[in-house]
């Protein structure tokens, strides 16, 4: 069914700050495909004042993802109940960039913002993969030697590879598991501090995701989860 394909496409769209698909965050309020293969998607967010830059990225990414689904003749993606909904919806429909959409208000396009959060995801992802190994007794020397190929395979490892690839960082089997976001290596003596930081970054992202879920539930009275 075409609607399933559209839904799957929306599943590739991430909230940049939370590093989770908008479908899992319950941000997709409505997703339909009519007889003429026009896909209509309505997005919603946890608060009226969610930052317009993140919001713009999600609407634009959703528009691109849905437009690219084979068989879809036209995509209409709108954001509802948001203080900048009119500007964002108009800008995305007109294929305008963020700076153009918010002329006179924004001075930087959003590539840097996306990169900033991808770097966070790459740091947090190292904790997700390494933490079970630390708990099982792996020491700094062992962890510093681990590569993406020798680390136990898991969905978290796959996700980490994808984020690293998106940043242009080494993502092959031979690449070390622990790296700095600039690609630099982590010496054994630096491992404890590196992992402490990674755990902290992960906490920031996950706690934010939890908070957004709570606020969304309170706002829309949903049970959460799509």
């Amino acid at each position: 069914m075409l609607r399933d394909a559209v839904w799957a496409a929306l599943g590739t769209v991430l909230d940049p700050e939370l590093d989770e698909p908008i479908t899992e965050l319950d941000f997709v309020a409505e997703c339909t495909v009519d007889d003429h293969a026009v896909a209509r998607v309505r997005l919603r967010l946890p608060t009226f004042f969610c930052a317009p830059n993140f919001s713009f990225l999600m609407v634009a990414d959703a528009y691109d993802a849905v437009s690219a689904v084979e068989g879809v003749t036209r995509a209409e993606v709108v954001l509802a109940d948001h203080h900048a909904a009119a500007e964002i919806n108009g800008g995305v429909a007109a294929h305008a960039g963020f700076v153009e959409t918010f002329a006179g208000e924004a001075d930087a396009d959003l590539a840097d913002l996306r990169r900033y959060f991808l770097e966070k995801a790459v740091i947090a992802g190292q904790d997700r993969v390494a933490r079970p190994l630390v708990d099982a007794g792996a020491g700094p020397d062992e962890l510093a030697e681990l590569t993406l190929g020798t680390a136990p395979s898991s969905p978290d490892l796959e996700r980490l590879r994808q984020r690293r690839a998106a940043l242009g960082l080494p993502a092959d089997d031979g690449a070390p598991l622990l790296i700095h976001p600039d690609g630099g290596g982590v010496a054994a003596a630096q491992v404890p501090l590196h992992l402490r930081r990674a755990r902290l970054t992960r906490l920031g992202i996950e706690a934010n995701g939890d908070m957004c879920r709570s606020l969304l539930q309170n706002r829309y009275g949903t049970a959460g989860g799509a």
């Binding site: 700050e17 946890p46 608060t47 009226f48 004042f49 969610c50 930052a51 317009p52 830059n53 993140f54 203080h83 918010f102 006179g104 208000e105 924004a106 001075d107 930087a108 840097d112 913002l113 900033y116 966070k120 740091i123 708990d135 010496a187 054994a188 003596a189 630096q190 404890p192 501090l193 590196h194 402490r196 930081r197 755990r199 902290l200 970054t201 906490l203 920031g204 992202i205 996950e206 706690a207 934010n208 939890d210 908070m211 709570s214 606020l215 309170n218 706002r219």
Partner: protein, 355 residues
């Protein structure tokens, strides 16, 4: 004062408001923003225990009597530090101005400390206003919002801006020692730098005689915050929102936050703030005193939270910052013997390895 199990806690609420979000105060044509703002806060309010929830109309505006009861009679607070939030483009008389807070201070001079505000984009007029406010309210602190929009078209500023340094130098001159900076949840800034904590780093180094209390601990960018705070002895974490949004709604998350903050920032640089009128202080104080790090394996390498540490966080640390006299019975018998921030050791080790 709050007493539990024979221990006496002197409570300083270092971050609270007295707002007017009533419909009469909404600027014509800007109602959707005024409503959107308070609705957003009302969403946060729902994260408290259900029995403490208020109805929406009450949430828009409470009376002075309500506040005195919620904060002092029932809330265990000994001294409350008002922060201001202007937002005059949406709220006619301001959302929560120094004047609104000052009116309560004049009625109850022993209960409150009123903090001022500045915005470096206000230029010379802003400097004069700060001088005037400092004299009128005997300011020891200010609250700043670096992500706030300005009528000159700017969508945010940094503490490191040369104009901001003029204001910080003025603070020094006026005896204002405590700068509370809002670095918290991403609400509304257009430019990514508006919520960054990077500017605090340089500024704290350049103004070692001022204290920088980062409200909401930079959450969700707590990693940027903590990694900066570990290196700056005059940077504090304000626990407003950290407690209110998590202590009840997400206890495991709260435990992780506390563990990380104790590790990176240390118990001597954390301050309690109820963020009234988002939440009341009563349940926060009581739950925090009862709280302990969970025994689960996931929390084993976090520092424990001692009774002495709770006393510091709930009041003694802020009392030190603001020169508040603490009754003998609530003081700690001796200075702490534990390391201030375990993270320092780890950073030294890693730096040694790098050299």
């Amino acid at each position: 004062m709050y007493e539990k199990d024979g221990e006496k806690y002197f409570i300083v609420d270092a971050h609270l408001h007295f707002w007017d979000a009533s419909r009469e105060n909404w600027v014509e044509g800007q109602e959707q923003y005024a409503k959107g703002w308070i609705d957003c806060f009302y969403g946060y309010h729902q994260l408290a225990p259900p029995e403490t929830h208020w109805d929406y109309e009450h949430y828009l505006k409470v009376s002075a009597d309500d506040l005195m009861r919620d904060v002092f009679d029932e809330g265990h607070v000994d001294k409350a530090i008002f922060q201001s939030t202007y937002l005059k483009s949406w709220y006619k008389a301001g959302f929560n101005t120094v004047e609104q807070n000052g009116a309560l201070l004049e009625k109850h001079p022993d209960k409150f400390i009123v903090n001022g505000r500045f915005d470096p984009r206000d230029g010379d007029a802003g400097l004069r206003q700060l001088e005037e406010d400092a004299r009128r309210w005997n300011l020891q602190g200010v609250k700043v919002y670096t992500a706030e929009w300005h009528e000159n078209g700017s969508r945010g500023w940094k503490l490191t801006d040369p104009e901001a340094y003029r204001f910080l130098e003025k603070c020094r001159e006026l005896g204002i020692r405590n700068v509370h900076a809002h670095k918290g949840p991403t609400i509304w800034p257009l430019n990514k730098d508006a919520f960054s904590v990077e500017d605090v780093d340089q500024t704290a180094t350049d103004f070692p005689d001022l204290n920088f209390i980062i409200e909401h601990a930079g959450i969700p960018r707590i990693d940027d915050f903590a990694y900066m705070a570990v290196q700056e002895p005059n940077v504090y974490a304000g626990l407003s929102v950290v407690m209110g949004a998590h202590l009840h709604a997400r206890p495991k998350t709260f435990a992780r936050f506390m563990g990380e903050l104790l590790f990176w920032v240390g118990e001597d640089r954390l301050t309690f703030g109820s963020d009234y009128n988002i939440w009341t202080p009563k349940w926060q104080v009581e739950a925090f005193v009862d709280w302990q790090m969970p025994d689960d394996e996931a929390f084993t390498d976090y520092p424990r939270l001692t009774t002495a540490a709770k006393k510091k966080i709930l009041g003694l640390n802020a009392a030190r910052l603001y020169g508040i006299d603490v009754p003998e019975e609530c003081r700690l018998p001796e200075p702490p013997t534990i390391p201030e921030q375990p993270a320092e050791q780890l950073m030294d080790d890693a730096a040694g390895a790098q050299a």
